[in-house]
Symmetry: C2
Subunit: 583 residues, 2 copies
């Protein structure tokens, strides 16, 4: 096996074309072997095999610097840069993360996981190189899907003007996670169909030199074009047509399903996971929204390139028709669009992952909240129970959204509350509302939620006890329940994480010694600190629990919680010790 | 005077071409009369006179909806839609804000002040129209400068695909605030030079229909093209060449200086303001950075379309050469670029206005802070003493930056501290650092600051007293000083607003009854709440002062502070009452 002898890109440069072909096949087989047992990003990596081999054959990594956009397609790169054991040997599967990572290897330059950043980061590396008299190649690799993001455009626009030698590889597999959306994609199609020769060319319009590669799995063609652009003194786009999922029939046939997947059988692709018949918020939400759409033509659901997050797989998108809009990977636009729809009388619901919502801080503040238009956000994965990669953490959304005026941020603890909140949000016309979809499974109480959510910031007392008050929101509520029972304390479900119930809080010092707040996210900037601040002049102690401001990576939930003092045992112990103290 | 009889756009439609011409001249004279007495956005409004008259002649506002990007060019629109008195009558100058404002008029649809949002908002209005069976025209007006922002591109990309009737007017005056930056602008130039006929066309590449107007001050040409595109069923770009500052020689000749200006003499343009010889942080910063650039070729200063903010007027930009980069209005890219430069060994300093920094929440978190690259941000106008327009508030940056891991946010109280912090930040290689440039004038203590800022989160005790501790950062420090003196309290200059000095805070309960925190920004999510949370289990009271989470508009500083309980008198009274209480 050639791959077993590849310890660095140097070992690739001595191979013949025939050996490079064999190496590529071995890489693909190895990818499928690990992915079928471990799960991961399948389509993006299978499509990048030959391109990555050709890159490391032609360029001198790490002196030459390759920046992968999103970096979920960097598995072959990892295999060829000293990390092959993490793919060949199941005992070492966890030695590498799913994204580029400078702590892993000098061949990686950034921790990356969000889209559309590679051109800007590469532009920075090029500027640093030019300031210090360097001469290396700088290469950004960006998928067609990522090109709908505004940051990518800003990067291309600035790089074209900078005019310095930089190679932008556009890996065009005609897919985002789902299908692409945006006017740009008819231009990419025209470029593919004309083999790069059509009159109107987005990249040339911005000022780039331009090369087209028809078959992104042809090593010879790839090596030729890379040798041609190597050491360029100008910004150049190399537009390469590849096939997402290349070489694995199920992935080639259903590209959306196989963008990322759980472990599966080879060669059938049959899933190894058995999820049972349990409910999921994705499906429940999508079904609820489809029903609402049929009742009201003004309801429109928005996704920014991740329709699966909100349960809108292909069949449901078709069913929704014009009442479903996928704007492509363009979160900023999604928020402004929703604000505009609302202003013109529509009822927009934007479903988005907590981590990706970060792109919209300014649009939420300016385009939406200053204008106070009624819009509903459904925030998925905002929780320690969300994604655990450092680039996809769901720990920051309360601190981000909770401090923007006019926005109402709700955190339901169960299915009944969630749908009561969603129903209220879609009928009221007073405020922009975000709902933090629970991330600890679908819990049903069987009790209808009749709360009037138009009374903002009204907390609900769900258990009455003594000495201590436990306030616990969303996915941490059930833990709060256990704690309150063990110490015979009062339990509060705050429901609102963007404001506090001043009336209720004011009265606590009379009957209690201590308030405990459990927050499913970072402590800093969260709702718990609002409570602590408000009670700062009252005669009652407050202790905030949450994750300390930090970027944990690939964490294990229980361990992360324990490190932050969050477990029923730890909190109960703290309470006993704090209640004993006299003030 | 025709203008005096214009109470709504209906009154324009009956005018002859000759009368429209006279009206345009009257509008321009009126603009100059108000602007020369009042100050404001000069160049953008003088350039939009004829276009706005033509728009209201052809379209049926407010049924037809016009969305102005940034909306600093909407003065003529205001004049023609029932608000002429706010321009004709000095007593009513303050009746209108400087931006579109739905509370002022049904002809305005959004409070807007940030760039690059109009296309997305218009796209939303169009979607709302289509969902509800409406047929009106939707028109976005965006300047060429705003086209470098990613949100504009996301909007164009989605609108082109949506394929529904929407008119995007590109008001191309070949200027941003300063000169334009980005590859796109050579395409706009080629389009202007070829009268819209050159082969590569950015807008056509995205899928738009396209019209070019050579003279954006020719009413006949404008009216013809608007009549042509009226009731379009497809997205169309109307690319109109205008002259920024049209009709006022000083503004035509120095477009950067006259983008916005203070009151001035007519017709000379001589400023009516006399600023004396006082120092400004803009100038001091620019001079310091130019010196550093000469000492070290790796220092590079970045601006995102607002070089004046950091004191880099034309002569200084020329002096800095390749060590100054204006990326255009592209804040997201600016942050990622800085991260990349730093990774390649450079020393980037990014100067930006607090309100515009909001565009970069995700890039600060992901592209920069996860990667922990040493970069310096200089945040201008982060303060109640910053801009008071609701769309440009400087109240949110502590809550935004202070809760992002790895970032060190420093808030100096005087010139000596500011430059000590800047010097430290540019030499250390451990963290990304942001510095909140003081906004209450240049205060010099004359005492060298020898603080070692690499000891993070070390507060400085600057006065020792009893019972009460006053913690006051940045531009509020001098107020804290007065308060501490009046109550004979201890005074702390925290310097760091992204973390707390746990050691110091722990010791306070022993000697004090009360901690007061004065925060120059919103309370929610700020550093004061971190202190309150930390001290929640200690035997000491804490009271946080700051602006309540809200969007004040065109506020008067003293009044806003008073409403929020912030004045020496109010705080001293609170302290006396709180210290008296027994816990």
């Amino acid at each position: 096996m050639i791959l077993e002898k590849i310890n660095s890109p140097e070992d690739i440069k001595v191979l013949s074309m025939e050996q490079l072909k064999i190496l590529s096949d071995e890489v693909r087989t190895t990818l499928l072997s690990k992915l079928s047992n471990h799960g991961g990003h399948i389509g993006p990596n299978l499509g990048m095999v030959e391109m990555t081999v050709a890159l490391h054959y032609v360029f001198q990594s790490p002196a030459d610097k390759i920046v992968y956009d999103v970096s979920h397609q960097s598995y072959t790169h990892k295999m060829l840069t000293g990390r092959k054991d993490a793919f060949l040997n199941p005992d070492h599967y966890e030695d590498v993360t799913g994204y580029t990572n400078p702590e892993e290897s000098p061949h990686d330059f950034f921790n990356i996981g969000h889209t559309s950043t590679s051109v800007s980061l590469a532009c920075g590396l090029a500027k640093g190189r030019d300031l210090t008299g360097g001469t290396e190649n700088i290469i950004a690799i960006i998928g067609d899907g990522s090109l709908s993001g505004g940051e990518a455009y800003e990067g291309l626009n600035n790089l074209a003007e900078a005019g310095t030698g930089t190679i932008v590889i556009v890996n065009d597999n005609d897919m985002s996670i789902a299908e692409n959306h945006g006017g740009l994609y008819q231009n990419l199609r025209a470029l593919r169909e004309s083999e790069g020769k059509c009159e109107c060319n987005f990249f040339k319009a911005l000022g780039f030199d331009y090369r087209f590669v028809k078959d992104g799995h042809d090593l010879k063609e790839l090596i030729d074009v890379f040798q041609e652009v190597k050491d360029t003194t100008k910004p150049v786009v190399v537009h390469i047509h590849t096939i997402k999922g290349k070489g694995f029939a199920p992935a080639e046939n259903d590209k959306e399903q196989w963008h990322w997947n759980f472990p599966f059988e080879m060669p059938s692709g049959q899933s190894k996971m058995h999820f049972g018949d349990g409910e999921s918020y994705e499906d429940l939400t999508a079904e609820y929204l489809l029903k609402k759409m049929k009742e009201d033509e003004k309801v429109v659901v928005i996704s920014s390139g991740t329709p699966g997050v909100i349960g809108f797989h292909k069949a449901r998108r078709d069913e929704a028709g014009k009442q479903f809009v996928d704007v492509g990977i363009a979160e900023e636009h999604a928020v402004a669009l929703a604000s505009g729809i609302s202003k013109r009388g529509g009822t927009p619901v934007y479903g988005v992952v907590s981590s990706f919502l970060q792109r919209t801080y300014d649009q939420v503040s300016q385009d939406l909240c200053i204008n106070n238009n009624p819009v509903t956000f459904l925030v998925f994965g905002g929780s320690v129970f969300g994604m655990s990669d450092v680039t996809h953490l769901g720990l920051f959304d309360i601190a981000m959204l909770g401090n923007i005026p006019n926005l109402v941020y709700l955190s339901p603890t169960c299915k009944e509350e969630y749908f009561a909140m969603l129903k209220w949000s879609m009928t009221q016309r007073e405020h922009p509302v975000a709902i933090r979809v629970p991330a600890n499974g679908v819990i049903s109480t069987g009790i209808e939620d009749t709360t009037d959510y138009s009374s903002l910031n009204k907390y609900q007392v769900t258990r009455t006890g003594k000495d201590v008050v436990v306030i616990a929101a969303g996915s941490f509520y059930q833990m709060g329940q256990q704690i309150a029972e063990q110490v015979d304390g009062t339990l509060i479900n705050p429901k609102f994480v963007s404001g506090i119930d001043e009336e209720l809080l004011k009265g606590l010092e009379k009957d209690y010694k201590l308030v405990i707040v459990l927050e499913d996210g970072i402590i800093e900037g969260g709702y718990g600190q609002k409570i602590a601040s408000f009670l700062g002049t009252y005669d009652i102690k407050v202790k905030n629990y949450g994750i300390r401001k930090s970027f944990p990576d690939c964490y294990v939930v229980e361990e992360l919680l324990k490190e932050n003092g969050i477990s029923v045992e730890q909190v109960v112990e703290d309470i006993r010790s704090l209640v004993k103290q006299k003030r």
